[in-house]
Structure formats: structure tokens, C-alpha cells
Symmetry: C2
Subunit: 222 residues, 2 copies
């Protein structure tokens, strides 16, 4: 009410969600969870959007106000992670100067992982990953999303770092290397989910360091 400068609010933003917003988030989350469940049970192709929408009691028209495609809804976990990654890259401390971009990006991804891995995110991510591996169109959409994320991250790097030559390919390549390593980590994690995704990712980064010199020994005879 008053615009008079009273004591500044210190901890009120707890229930600032306008109730309207909460319903939206609940609906969205319900769509994600239900789709993961149905797709995992019966396969991506065997579930129609009408069925999914009926299960959540939402019209198909509404579905497309939340997600851009049938594939999109089941990739929410991965997308959350990458959006967090972009956020961290945008705001976090850049660390010691002149450290390789590769290491900077690796740390950024690990930080994003720590921030994302909560509740049953791991469970959802696992279901999502398995679906992606079985569903070509989901794989395609996922790779495309990764690519856009990489471009966005590259723009951030150019904004926050002093990169003399704007056409230098190496920052982009460093980003791609980290993404490739993380994809490897996701795969190994999916088949051995006992270790944390974070641990698998660190392992993949280690492998990355010596990937360029890995020798090609012909089989059998020389």
C-alpha cells in the first residue's frame, strides 16, 4: 500500500506465488510425470497425446501451451539441467584467470549438477534418458536442444571472457567436448546408476583429458 520507505522486507518472498502460478506449475509437473510414466510403460509411439491429455484432464490445446511438442514434455529433466547450466555460467564466479575454458565449463556443469540433483530429479532424468535412447525423434529433439544450449553458452562466454578473435573455434570446441563427455557420463550412469551422475561426469572429464592421445593399435597383425 504505502510507498513510504519502511523497513525492507527480509524474508517475505516465501509465499509470493500468486496461487495462479502454483496451479500452472502443478499442471505442468503432472504432465511431465504422467508422460514419463505412460511413455515408459507402453512406449513413446504407442501413447497418443489425446490419451495423455485425458489422463491429466487437460485439453490438447492446453498441452501445447505448456510444451512445444510431444517429445518436449518428456525431456523436461534434461532441459532443467541445461537451463541451470546456462544460469550458472551467466552468474557464477569465473575462477582463477587464464585457467583453460575447458576446465571452467567443466566446473560450471558440475555446479549445475549439484544444484539440479534433488528429490527425484535423478529418477525422472533416468526415465527420460532411457526414453531418449529408445525413441529416435526424442533423441533428435534432445540433441537439437543441446546444440541451442551450446550456442547460448558460447554467447555468454564471449560476453564474459576476453576472447581476442571472435571467430576462434576453440571456445566452441571446448564447449562441445564437455557436452560430449557429459553425454558419455549420462550413458554410463544409466547403466550403472549406483554411482552418482556427478561421479560419472567427473570420470568422463578425466577420460576427456587423454582422449586426444589415445593410441590406435590395429587388431591382430600389424
Amino acid at each position: 500500500m504505502s510507498t513510504a520507505p519502511g523497513p525492507p522486507d527480509l524474508s517475505p518472498p516465501l509465499p509470493p506465488l500468486p496461487l495462479r502460478e502454483r496451479k500452472k506449475r502443478r499442471t505442468r509437473q503432472l504432465l511431465v510425470d504422467t508422460s514419463l510414466e505412460l511413455f515408459t510403460e507402453r512406449g513413446f509411439g504407442k501413447v497418443t497425446l489425446d490419451e495423455l491429455c485425458d489422463s491429466v484432464e487437460v485439453s490438447k490445446r492446453t498441452f501445447f501451451r505448456y510444451f512445444s511438442s510431444k517429445e518436449d514434455v518428456a525431456m523436461a529433466p534434461t532441459q532443467d539441467l541445461w537451463l541451470t547450466f546456462l544460469d550458472v555460467l551467466d552468474t557464477a564466479d569465473l575462477g582463477p584467470a587464464d585457467r583453460p575454458v575447458l576446465l571452467l565449463v567443466q566446473d560450471t556443469l558440475l555446479t549445475a549438477l549439484d544444484r539440479t540433483t534433488t528429490d527425484d530429479w535423478a529418477h525422472r532424468a533416468l526415465l527420460s534418458h532411457n526414453l531418449i535412447e529408445q525413441t529416435p525423434s526424442m533423441d533428435a529433439h534432445g540433441l537439437h536442444f543441446c546444440d541451442r544450449t551450446t550456442r547460448s553458452a558460447l554467447a555468454t562466454l564471449h560476453r564474459r571472457l576476453d576472447i581476442p578473435d571472435p571467430a576462434d573455434l576453440r571456445p566452441r570446441l571446448a564447449l562441445d567436448m564437455v557436452v560430449a563427455a557429459f553425454h558419455c557420463a549420462l550413458t554410463t550412469w544409466a547403466s550403472t546408476p549406483t554411482d552418482s551422475l556427478s561421479a560419472h561426469t567427473r570420470q568422463a572429464f578425466t577420460a576427456l583429458a587423454s582422449a586426444a592421445t589415445f593410441p590406435a593399435t590395429p587388431r591382430g597383425d600389424g
Copy 2:
């Protein structure tokens, strides 16, 4: 006229194509060229398959016997290159022992490029690449195809090379690095087609060698 045994043909495999095969190839090529033309003119989304099929005087049903999707037809140039890459990787000499896989794969890709770059392949590839950059669904399908190709190549590496640990991530990472570098090369080539794609690729490989150590200097203040 005469079926009498004259001197045996020394270079006869020139027209061994059973005539039927030639029509198929002509139709296929016509579909590719026409789609590149129409999509480039008016945009991927503004051209329906019915229009394309009418232009080539082919039924939609037939179209899908040649290509798996609307996106697929306009990506033929890139796919030709990667299929050649797989073929070279499958058959070519592996070079000196214990050379890094990374270099082996780089050479393989350059060989495939030499073998593919003919006629107006470059022209087609350029149109295709520009379309991919403007069309999200084509980009997605292209990345997916690359991913499958990489997996296939990895299988070939495991077959032809002596890789002690089948779970070692480094061969896969080396492959991904080469693919990433080539994508960079494609992009720079598309904006500067005066140099050959081969030259751009070599440059990207050079950048790749020092990408891991590229320093991240914070902008302005340290």
C-alpha cells in the same frame, strides 16, 4: 547384332546398371534437387510434400519409399558424406600403429571428403547446410543422423582396433571431437565458401589440438 565371341570387353562395367536402377536413382536425385530448390526458395515449412511430389510427378507414397521423412530428403548431401566416411573407416588402411585415434579419424574424414567432393556436391551441401541452419526440425534430424553415424563408427573402431577396455570412453570422445570440429568447419565454410571445405576442416582440426588449453581470461577487470 552378332553374339559371336569377339575380344573380351576390358572396361565393360560402365553400363552394368540394370536400367531399372537408373530410373530409381534419377527419381531420387530429382527429389533431392527439387526439394533443395523449393525449400531454399520458399522455406522448408512453406512447402508441402504434395507440392514437392507434384513437381517431380511422384506420388507421396513413393516419396516415403525413398526417404524416411520430409527432412530426410534435403539432407542427402551430408548423409552421402558420412556414409562415405563409414565406408572409408571400414576399409582403408589404418596407418602407422599407435598413432592417436583422433588423427586416424581425422584422416579418415579428410579422405571421405576428397572422395565425396565432386560435381556440384559442394553446391548441394551448401544449400542443405543453410536449410539446416534455418530449420529446427532439419537441424534435429541432422544431429540425430550424425549421432547414429558416430555410434556406427565407434563399432567399427572396436572391430578393427585393439581396444583393451570396451568401456573406455576415449575412442568415443575422440570421434565426437572430430565431428564437432567438422561442424565448425561446415559453418565457417558456409560463410566463406571461397576456401574449400577440406581446407576449413584442416583448420578446425588445428584449432581442436589446442582447444583444451585455450585460456579463459575474464573481461575487463580481473
